[in-house]
Amino acid sequence: MVKMTDLPTKGGFSFDLCTRNQMLLDKGVQMPPFRKTGTTIVGLVFQDGVVLGADTRATEGPIVADKNCEKIHFMAPNIYCCGAGTAADTEAVTDMVSSQLQLHRYATGRESRVVTALTLLKSHLFSYQGHVSAALVLGGVDVTGPHLHTVYPHGSTDTLPFATMGSGSLAAMSVFESKYREGLTREEGIELVAEAICAGIFNDLGSGSNVDVCVITKGQTEYLRNYQLPNPRTYISSKGYSFVKGQTEVLSTKITPIQSKVQTVEGGDAMEE
């Protein structure tokens, strides 16, 4: 039978390279470390809605790969999700559920509900039995009120008034457990979230850099990117490096001018009747 050419696949995971990778593992080769978001992610419910918070450090083993990454992902205009765990998994799973929610909004003609996002996430994660390593804090406000949930990589969920996830979750939870109370105002909620994230940033090695905050209330969402920058870079020398032109030894140079592509004009003359 003639093998079809490699057409773009219809979606889902492809397991083509698993046999080869298993062969390499058997030969003693180690799997590479994936980029993780070491992370402190938090959420809490205040009187008018939900506040989500996250740090901004992405790690690859012990090295900081990204000093200012975004961990608060968009799910729907009224629902946001913070992600911890393997970075590729959190990004892929939140993007996928966000698209599914958009299609659902078009089909139903209604604003998305937080429990819809929750069910879509937990069923996907459960079906992969924890191999899709995404730990999420999902929060939003819909017609039924403000909701805050945590989703674990194996697919279990909790519904809580305040929640923390990630390697810095213990540091952040200690702040919440001492200072949280019901009926916080918006300013108090943001302050408490920022304090909890800072506890994670300064005490947990897997979290660092800046604080991102997202405030969701009925009818309005505010994404405060880099709400606090408690780790400014102070060690830059004012002069910087300056290299003399021609300092690097060059063996050969090839310069190609870029041809600008010809633009075709749409329309043109109208046809005669």
């Binding site: 995971f13 003693g28 290299f243």
Partner: protein
């Protein structure tokens, strides 16, 4: 021994003022033996978009062939070149598709987008995108490259200065890594021209 250390590689991309530069080392090795000193790691997708692939060399070449195939299909359907941001999403999706049996390569994507705005990004081998505004690094020499770029990088550099900076960062970092080096290859792209330069480095 990690799979990424089988062939050895060093890749870096930096943003300048309406231009970008992407540089790689030239060694291809089989663990500690050097097999080639003119190995190409930076590939052209179209005039204003380049991708560098570090890690296992065979996976890098396969990834490149798949990406060129997808881009050519895109060109036929859309009758235009892909924007860098779109291309980055394509690479991320192709890598994540193989989540449980991944390609062992880490791409560095650099391109000029709309209004000659330079765009760079890197990903891990599963497709987790990292968009940076200054520089991105990849390969066995990545730890040294992080340090060298952090100190040498300045924002809004002109093309000549950007070339010197990226070359010095690359050469000084590969000197601290046994598995990469044997010269350097720098590609500097401005809105009007593309400059490819081969650098003289230590051959050890």
């Amino acid at each position: 021994m990690s799979i990424f250390e089988y062939n050895g590689s060093a890749l870096v991309a930096m943003v300048g003022k309406n231009c970008f530069a992407i540089a790689s080392d030239r060694r291809l090795g089989v663990q500690l033996q050097t097999v080639a000193t003119d190995f190409q790691r930076v590939f052209k997708i179209h005039d204003r978009l380049y991708i560098g692939l570090s890690g296992l060399a065979t996976d890098a070449q396969t990834m490149y062939q798949k990406l060129v195939f997808r881009h050519k299909l895109y060109q036929l359907r859309e009758e235009r070149d892909m924007k860098p941001q779109t291309f980055a999403s394509l690479v991320s999706a192709l890598l994540y598709e193989k989540r449980f049996g991944p390609f062992f390569c880490q791409p560095v994507i650099a391109g000029l987008g709309d209004n000659d705005e330079p765009f760079i990004c890197t990903m891990d081998c599963l497709g987790a995108k990292e968009l940076a505004k200054d520089f991105v690094v990849s390969g066995t020499a990545s730890e040294s490259l992080y340090g060298a770029c952090e100190s040498m990088y300045k924002p809004d550099m002109e093309p000549e200065e950007l070339f010197e900076t990226i070359s010095q960062a690359l050469l000084s970092s590969v000197d601290r890594d046994c598995l990469s080096g044997w010269g350097g290859y720098v590609l500097l792209v401005t809105p009007t021209e593309v400059q490819e330069k081969i650098l003289k480095g230590r051959m050890d």
